[in-house]
C-alpha cells in the first residue's frame, strides 16, 4: 500500500492528463492546422480516410476530423458555460436559502423543486421550442436543468457548515452575513460543489448530444457530436466508421470527466476510500492446537503482526514479538500511546485484524469453553467465527457507532446469542433482557425494542457490555471503553466493569486497553506497557505504578492528570511530558525504539536494541538497558 500522502496526487495524474489532453486537442489542434468544418464537397461524400482527411469525409464531403474537433469545442464550451451558470445560480440560491432561512429558504427551495418536477427532456424541449434551437438556448436550458442540483447541495452543505463552531463564532462577533457567507461558509462547501460541477459538465455533454440528436441542439452547419451522430445514423450501414467517430469522441469526453470526478471525490472525501482494505481481515487458514499455560485463558506467544505494503515497499512489523498471558479471573491492562500497537494486539486476540495486517509469526492461543484451545493466528475463518463472541468478546471505544443504527438493540443482542447456540427467539429475548438488567439498564424490556439512537452513550456502552457477556465468554477485551463518554458516565462504566469479575461467575479474564496508567490502577491486576509495537514493561499493577522501571512507563505516570475527574478525558492520548510522538513503524531508530524521546538515553542505547529483560523473580520485566532487570554486563561492555 502506498501511503496516502503520495497516492492522492498519483490518482489524479491519469484523469488530469487525459482530460487536459482531450480538451487541449479540441481547442489547440484547430489553431495549428487549418481545418474547415463547414466546407462541403459533395462529390467526395463518405470518402474514407486520406492524408487530407485523416478521418474521412461525411455525407456532405465535409472533413470529419475538423467536425469532430470543432464539434468538441462546441460541446465542451456549452457544457462548461452551462455548468458554470448553473453553479453560480444554484449555489447562490442554496446559500441564501440555507443561511437566511425563513421566506428565503421557502422560495429558494420551492423554485428548485418546481424545476425538478418537470421532466428534464421535456423542459428542454419546451424551452428550445420557444426560443428556437441554438447555442444560447442550449446553454440556458442546461443551466436551468441543472441549477437545482447545485442549490440542493449548497443548501444542505451550508446547513451543515453554518452550525459549526467557527461560523457560530464569527456570527457572535457580529461579522456581516454576506462576509460570513463569502469568507467562511463558501470555502467550506466548495468541495462537494466542485464535484457536482464536474458531474454536471458530463451530464451537460450527454443532454446536449441528446438534444442535438433530436435536432434541437446546435444549429448546423456548426457541428456538434450529437448532430454528427444523427446524420451519420442514416449512413450507418454504408459507413459505420462515420457513426463510430462522433460516438467515440462523445464517449471519451464523458469518460474522461467522470474519471476525473471519481478521483476528485476520492481526494476530497477519502472516507469511502479504504484503498482496498477490509475493515476486518479474514484469519489465516492453518492448523495447530496450542497449549495454554496453567491458569491462563488466552496467550499471545511471540506474536508479530506485519503490514503488507504492496509489491513496491517492504512489509513492516507493526507489532513485534509480543507475548502476554491472560489469566482466569484476572484483569490485565494494556497501556500505551496511540500507535503503540496496543489496539492492534487486542484486535489480533479477537481475530479482528484489519486486512493487510497479518500475524507473520507467533501464536494467538485462546482457550475454549469446551474443547481444546485454538490458535487464532492460523484458524480457518469459519472456525474463528465460532470462537469470537463465544469464548472471547470485545467492547469498543465508541459506543455511539458500535451499534448498528438501523437495527433494534434486541435484534442485535439476540443475533449474537443465536450465532453460537440453537436458542429460540423467546428464550434469546429473555436472556438478553436479563443481561440488560444485569448491566444496570432500567426498563430493560422496553429498551430491548429500542433503536440505538434512542439511548444515551453510557446506556449504549452498557448494552455493548451486556451483549459481549451474553455468550459467557472467558475473555473480555475492553478497548478504551470510557474514552468517548462524559466524565460522570465514565466512572459508572468503570464501576460496572470492575464489578463484572465478581458478578460474572465463571472466571472472566479482562484485557483492559488504555492510554492512561491512572485509570487502570483501580481495575487491573497486571499491567503491560507497549511502545512502538513492543512490550516495554510488564508486572503487577501496584509495583509498576509505585516503581516503574522503564523511563517510558515513568513518563506515562508523570503525565497522569492529578484530578480523578480528568483521568479519562478524551483530549487525545498524547503525552505532554514527553516531547514528540512515537516513531512510525518503518522509521524506528536503531537500538532502543524509545531513545529519541528518552531523557536518560545514552550513546549505548543507539547500538543495542534491548530485549524484554525479565526479573529473576519472574514477575516483572522491562525493555531497557538501564532497568534493574537488565543484565549488568551489557551496559558495562558498551559504555567503556
Amino acid at each position: 500500500m502506498k501511503s496516502k500522502r503520495f497516492s492522492i496526487p498519483g490518482r489524479m495524474v491519469l484523469p488530469t492528463v487525459l482530460l487536459t489532453l482531450f480538451v487541449g486537442t479540441m481547442f489547440i489542434a484547430p489553431l495549428i492546422f487549418t481545418f474547415d468544418a463547414t466546407k462541403i464537397a459533395v462529390s467526395e461524400r463518405l470518402a474514407g480516410p486520406s492524408w487530407a482527411h485523416p478521418l474521412g469525409q461525411d455525407g456532405f464531403g465535409r472533413d470529419r476530423l475538423a467536425r469532430v474537433l470543432y464539434g468538441g469545442q462546441v460541446s465542451l464550451t456549452v457544457a462548461f458555460v452551462a455548468s458554470l451558470i448553473a453553479l453560480a445560480i444554484g449555489t447562490f440560491v442554496g446559500l441564501i436559502g440555507a443561511y437566511f432561512r425563513g421566506p428565503f429558504e421557502f422560495i429558494a427551495m420551492r423554485v428548485s423543486d418546481v424545476v425538478l418536477y418537470f421532466p428534464p427532456i421535456l423542459l428542454a424541449l419546451l424551452v428550445v421550442t420557444i426560443f428556437g434551437p441554438g447555442v444560447t438556448t442550449l446553454v440556458a436550458v442546461l443551466a436551468l436543468l441543472f441549477f437545482p442540483s447545485f442549490s440542493r447541495i449548497a443548501y444542505s452543505e451550508t446547513m451543515r457548515v453554518s452550525v459549526l463552531d467557527f461560523v457560530e463564532a464569527s456570527r457572535a462577533l457580529g461579522t456581516a452575513p454576506s462576509r460570513i457567507v463569502a469568507r467562511t461558509v463558501l470555502p467550506n462547501i466548495m468541495g462537494p460543489i466542485l464535484v457536482q460541477f464536474s458531474l454536471t459538465a458530463a451530464a451537460c455533454i450527454t443532454v446536449e448530444s441528446g438534444l442535438s440528436f433530436l435536432g434541437l441542439g446546435v444549429v448546423p452547419p456548426a457541428p456538434s457530436w450529437g448532430q454528427m451522430i444523427r446524420s451519420a445514423r442514416t449512413y450507418m450501414e454504408q459507413d459505420p466508421f462515420g457513426i463510430f467517430v462522433p460516438c467515440a469522441a462523445l464517449f471519451l469526453a464523458i469518460y474522461a470527466i467522470n474519471l476525473f470526478v471519481d478521483r476528485l471525490r476520492d481526494v476530497l472525501d477519502p472516507k469511502g476510500q479504504l484503498e482496498g482494505k477490509d475493515a476486518v481481515s479474514a484469519t489465516k487458514d492453518g492448523a495447530g492446537t496450542p497449549e495454554l499455560g496453567e491458569g491462563n485463558v488466552a496467550e499471545l506467544r511471540a506474536l508479530t503482526l506485519t503490514l503488507d505494503r504492496g509489491a513496491d515497499l517492504p512489509p513492516v512489523d507493526l507489532v513485534k514479538d509480543v507475548s502476554m498471558a491472560l489469566r482466569a479471573n484476572q484483569n490485565t491492562a494494556l497501556v500505551g500511546e496511540s500507535g503503540s500497537g496496543k489496539s492492534l494486539t487486542a484486535l489480533a486476540l479477537m481475530g479482528l485484524l484489519p486486512s493487510g495486517i497479518q500475524p507473520t509469526s507467533g501464536q494467538i492461543a485462546v482457550g475454549r469453553k469446551a474443547g481444546t484451545p485454538v490458535d487464532l493466528a492460523s484458524l480457518a475463518p469459519h472456525a474463528a467465527e465460532q470462537v469470537r463472541g463465544n469464548d472471547i468478546a470485545m467492547i469498543f471505544q465508541e459506543p455511539m457507532t458500535s451499534l448498528n443504527p438501523v437495527l433494534r438493540i434486541g435484534f442485535q443482542m439476540t443475533e449474537a446469542l443465536q450465532a453460537h447456540s440453537d436458542i429460540d427467539r423467546a428464550e434469546a429475548r429473555e436472556k438478553s433482557i436479563a443481561a440488560l438488567q444485569s448491566v444496570g439498564i432500567p426498563e430493560a424490556a422496553s429498551r430491548f425494542d429500542a433503536y440505538p439512537h434512542e439511548l444515551s452513550g453510557g446506556m449504549r456502552q452498557r448494552v455493548m457490555i451486556a451483549m459481549a457477556l451474553l455468550a459467557e465468554p472467558k475473555v473480555l477485551i475492553a478497548d478504551e471503553p470510557t474514552t468517548a463518554l462524559d466524565v460522570t458516565i465514565q466512572a459508572e462504566i468503570m464501576d460496572l466493569l470492575r464489578d463484572l469479575r465478581s458478578s460474572h461467575g465463571s472466571g472472566l479474564s479482562m484485557l483492559f486497553i488504555s492510554h492512561n496508567l491512572g485509570i487502570v490502577a483501580d481495575i487491573a491486576d497486571w499491567v503491560v506497557v507497549m511502545y512502538s509495537g513492543e512490550v516495554v514493561e510488564e508486572g503487577p499493577t501496584d509495583q509498576i505504578l509505585r516503581d516503574p522501571h522503564h523511563p517510558y512507563t515513568r513518563a506515562l505516570l508523570e503525565s497522569m492528570p492529578s484530578a480523578h475527574e480528568d483521568l479519562h478525558s478524551a483530549k487525545g492520548d498524547r503525552l505532554d511530558t514527553i516531547k514528540g510522538t512515537p516513531p512510525l513503524p518503518h522509521l524506528r531508530p536503531s537500538g532502543c525504539s524509545s531513545r529519541d524521546r528518552c531523557p536518560m538515553a545514552q550513546p549505548v542505547c543507539a547500538t543495542i536494541h534491548p530485549d524484554l529483560y525479565r526479573a529473576t523473580s519472574g514477575t516483572r520485566a522491562a525493555r531497557c538497558l538501564f532497568a534493574p532487570e537488565a543484565p549488568e554486563h551489557l551496559i558495562q561492555k558498551e559504555a567503556v
Binding site: 421550442t129 450507418m236 484503498e275 457507532t401 443504527p405 455468550a471
Partner: protein
C-alpha cells in the same frame, strides 16, 4: 404522522398548481397554431377559413383566463380534456401510455437492481480486487455511453445484423405475450444499463462506506458469519442511499425515456408528450406534465417513507 401527511398533501397540491400554471403559461409562449398544423401537413396549403373554423372548434378562441380556469377546474376532477387533434380523451391516452413507460422503467430497474446490487456489493466488499477493477471499468464505460448511442448500436447488432429481436415496436402482452417480451427486451436493457451504472456505483460506494463502520466490527466480534455480517450490517445500511438515488432516477426517467422510446418506437408517455408538443396539442401536454409531476412527487414521498422505514433515525416531519 397525520401532520406529516397533511403537510405533504398540501405542499404537493401547491406544487402541482404551480407546475400547472407554469405549463399553461409556457404553452402560450410557444409559437405555432395547432389548427393550422393539423391542416397543413406535408407542405399542403390550408385555407384560412378552414383554419379559423377549426380553431373555433378546438376552443382556442376563448379568452385565455377562461381557458385557464376551465383547465384548473377540470384538472381537479382528473379531467384533462380531449386532444385538440383527434378529440381522444387525454386522460384515457395517459392511462394507456403511462403503464408502458412504467413497464419499461420497471423492467429496466429490475434488471439493473438484480445485477447492480450484487455486483456493487461484491465490488464494494473487495475494492481494488480484480472483480472491482473490471466491474468499475465496465461501469465507467456504461455511464459514459448515452442511451441513444447504445440503442442505435443494439438495433444494428441484435435486430438488423443478428436478427434475434425485433427492431422496435410494441404489442400488447395480452395479444401476444412472447412478442411483447421480445419487443421489450432491447429497450428495457437500454434503460437498465443506465440504471445499472447508477445502482452499481451507489451500492459500491455505500457498501464501501458502511463496511468500515464500527458496528460491522462489532458484528464480526459477535461471531456472526461473514454472510450475515454483510447482509445485516453492511447491505441493510447501504440500501438507504441506493433507494434514494434509484427513486430519484425513476422520477427523472418518467419524463426522459424520450430518446429510448423514440429509437425503439415504444409508444410510451414521453413519445406522446413529444408528439403533443410538436402538434401543439395543449391539453395533452398539460395533462402529461401534470401527471408526471404528480408521480414524481408521489415517488419522492414513497422514497422518503421507505427510507424512514430503513433508517429509524429519520423522523418524518
Amino acid at each position: 404522522m397525520l401532520r406529516f401527511a397533511l403537510n405533504r398533501a398540501l405542499s404537493a397540491g401547491l406544487m402541482l398548481l404551480v407546475v400547472g400554471t407554469v405549463v399553461f403559461s409556457i404553452l402560450f409562449l410557444v409559437p405555432g397554431d395547432p389548427a393550422e398544423l393539423l391542416l397543413s401537413s406535408d407542405g399542403i396549403t390550408a385555407s384560412p377559413d378552414a383554419i379559423a373554423s377549426l380553431r373555433e372548434e378546438m376552443g382556442l378562441n376563448k379568452p385565455l383566463l377562461a381557458q385557464y380556469g376551465e383547465f384548473l377546474v377540470n384538472a381537479l376532477r382528473f379531467d384533462f380534456g380531449v386532444s385538440l387533434i383527434d378529440k381522444a380523451s387525454v386522460g384515457d391516452t395517459i392511462a394507456t401510455r403511462l403503464p408502458r413507460t412504467i413497464e419499461l422503467i420497471l423492467a429496466g430497474l429490475v434488471l439493473a437492481a438484480l445485477t447492480g446490487i450484487p455486483a456493487g456489493t461484491y465490488a464494494g466488499l473487495r475494492p481494488g480486487r480484480r472483480f472491482d477493477r473490471i466491474a468499475s471499468a465496465v461501469n465507467a464505460v456504461l455511464i459514459s455511453l448515452p442511451g441513444f448511442v447504445i440503442g442505435t448500436l443494439f438495433i444494428y447488432i441484435f435486430a438488423q445484423f443478428l436478427r434475434w429481436l425485433p427492431a422496435g415496436g410494441y404489442t400488447s402482452f395480452f395479444t401476444d405475450p412472447w412478442l411483447h417480451i421480445k419487443q421489450l427486451t432491447l429497450p428495457a436493457i437500454t434503460v437498465g444499463l443506465h440504471l445499472f451504472s447508477i445502482i452499481f456505483r451507489m451500492t459500491r460506494a455505500s457498501v464501501l462506506e458502511m463496511r468500515g463502520n464500527d458496528w460491522v466490527r462489532t458484528a464480526v466480534a459477535k461471531g456472526l458469519s461473514r454472510k450475515l455480517v454483510v447482509r445485516r450490517h453492511v447491505l441493510r445500511n447501504a440500501l438507504g442511499p441506493v433507494i434514494t438515488v434509484v427513486g430519484l432516477q425513476m422520477g427523472i426517467l418518467l419524463g426522459s425515456t424520450v430518446l429510448i422510446e423514440f429509437i425503439y418506437n415504444w409508444p410510451g408517455l414521453s413519445g406522446y408528450l413529444v408528439t403533443a408538443v410538436q402538434q401543439r396539442d395543449y391539453p395533452s401536454v398539460r395533462g402529461v406534465i401534470l401527471v408526471v409531476s404528480a408521480l414524481f412527487i408521489l415517488i419522492n414521498l414513497m422514497v422518503e417513507l421507505l427510507y424512514s422505514m430503513l433508517d429509524p433515525r429519520i423522523r418524518l416531519e
